[in-house]
Amino acid sequence: MKHDQPQLIDALASEYVLGTLRGAARRRFERWQSAEWHVASRVHTWESRLIPLALGLPPLAPSPGVWTRIEERIRSADAPPATRRAAARPALRALAAGLLMCAVIAGGYVAWRMTQPLPLQTVATIKAEQGPILWSIELDAHRERLRAVALAAAATRPGHSFELWALPPGKGAPVSLGVLPGAGQLERTLSDAQRQALAIAAQVAVSLEPPGGSPTGAPTGPVLYVAALNPNV
């Protein structure tokens, strides 16, 4: 697939918004859209073209309970841990209040810690045998976030993308970790499949692909670089 053709981008964007782009192609297009603003902009154009069609449907009033459940969900997402009524006996009230205070502080601290992203550590550096480092790949300890940092200006090839793969041991199929940035850095949240692949992989590889990445979900172009994955993370 030649992803650099504006007409093709537009056609994919139109079928994406229409809903007929499905399965792996849809997921690939979503990744591409979030990485490239000009792809996202075609999606926005098609949304404003087609969505008035959906606005022509007669509105359907939701059941009364729907709003209540939305309110509960946003409240529990936003609120600090709920306070409880203090114990009935006056003698216990001070103790209960004290314990509650500790619980709130501890709960708040745990909640705060859970929302703090874990630090990223470099797990692989990708380079040609003699050349400078082209990308460094960073991961957090839970393998939830991956950041790829382009370090050399040579990391672009017109009309192509470089795609990163986790190489499982043995004969397992490579698992895509997404397209690498030509410059700057790109950070993404990993899927369960990507996390599992990284947990067992000993190496990562970079293949040359059409813009936006492999259209098949498996490497289609030549594998240009292979790098060891640091197992200590």
């Binding site: 809903g19 926005h44 959906a54 449907l57 007669p58 359907l60 459940r69």
Partner: protein
């Protein structure tokens, strides 16, 4: 009657409460949500939930499933309100896009079950007689209605089944009895004609 050759009808592209609430008001409400104003979310719900649910029930075919997805949509609006950029386009489009994406995501995961269940929601046809209220629907909706009517019957029906009902190419082939390749080409050509007409 062959589903692809139903007589042409007039399309109304927007109506109801959503059309009366201006995009400016919706944009202000989304910004207020970003500032954690729950009343603003409530007001957005009053203005948009009916329109969103109509579209989601069409795609998901079961009200309970659509209402659950509608909850996700409003929680998502609450969480993503800060990402809304006024300059990107009309607020109503942004809101409806979130609702549609959610419905299609749920459809992907529930697909098999949907086809097995016989008790899908019985829905009225989306057809509406008479031209829409273009003043409130906006210029882009009027242009879409005009261009939509210029499509051939097959192209229009294909796009409608895909967009409104959430049908895949294969679903449309099944309900129309036409080969998959024919359906793909109807839709591809229909979208190309729409683009050409809307850009002219």
């Amino acid at each position: 009657m062959h589903p692809m050759t139903a007589p042409g009808r007039r399309y109304t592209m927007a109506n109801g409460a959503a059309a009366n609430s201006t995009d400016d008001e919706l944009a202000r409400l989304i910004q207020a949500c970003a500032a954690r104003d729950r009343q603003a979310l409530r007001r957005l719900y009053e203005l948009m939930a009916g329109q969103m649910l109509a579209s989601m029930v069409r795609i998901l075919r079961r009200r309970a499933l659509a209402e659950e997805a509608l909850q996700d949509v409003f929680v998502s609006i609450w969480q993503r309100a800060q990402q809304f950029e006024g300059g990107r386009g009309p607020a109503r489009i942004w809101l409806m896009a979130i609702a549609r994406h959610r419905a299609i995501d749920v459809l992907r995961s529930e697909r098999v079950n949907l086809y097995r269940e016989a008790d899908v929601e019985q829905l009225p046809e989306p057809a509406m007689e008479g031209m829409g209220d273009w003043a409130s629907a906006g210029r882009s909706a009027a242009a879409l209605a005009r261009c939509f009517e210029e499509l051939s019957g097959e192209q229009r029906r294909g796009i409608e089944l895909a967009f409104i009902n959430g049908y895949s190419h294969a679903d449309i082939a099944r309900v129309t009895g036409e080969p998959l390749g024919t359906i793909k080409s109807w839709i591809r050509r229909g979208l190309a004609s729409l683009r050409q007409c809307l850009e002219s």
